[in-house]
Symmetry: C2
Subunit: 84 residues, 2 copies
């Protein structure tokens, strides 16, 4: 069993209105130390696979084809072996 | 300058319909190795703060009060010092 933790976020060059809104709200509340804020999506996926190489392939394919939009988003992930 | 990477997700005991839907879609597409999938939110926050202790306090407060709903969600974050 392998657990993948995936982060999908907008590319740095793409505007992030949701992040801007939260940033603005934080400033209104007095958090002036916050310089910027960007949002993204997180996925935790458990895979019935034992070899890390194979898991990496599957997760990369799922990210590329389904979870992320490669035109506007980028993704990265970490894998962790879980004793089942 | 300190960069915080925050993950907010539903507690394990709370149903995650969005995750279930994506999981189901993956199965339909033939990814039968996927055992479970849960979703969450990701935030990347840049802080105009130099001491890690202070940054930790601010981020923890922002998470507790604004980014996460402590009744249904849990959060964790990592801090990284950035040369400005």
């Amino acid at each position: 069993m392998i657990k993948a933790r995936i982060i999908v976020r907008l590319k740095d060059t793409i505007l992030d209105p949701q992040g801007k809104t939260i940033h603005h709200a934080l400033k209104t509340l007095g958090y002036n130390e916050v310089e910027s804020l960007r949002t993204g999506k997180f996925f935790e996926v458990s895979l019935n696979i034992d070899e890390e190489e194979k898991a990496k392939e599957v997760i990369d394919e799922i990210c590329r084809k389904i979870l992320a939009n490669p035109v506007t988003e980028e993704y990265n992930f970490t894998l962790e072996k879980i004793k089942s």
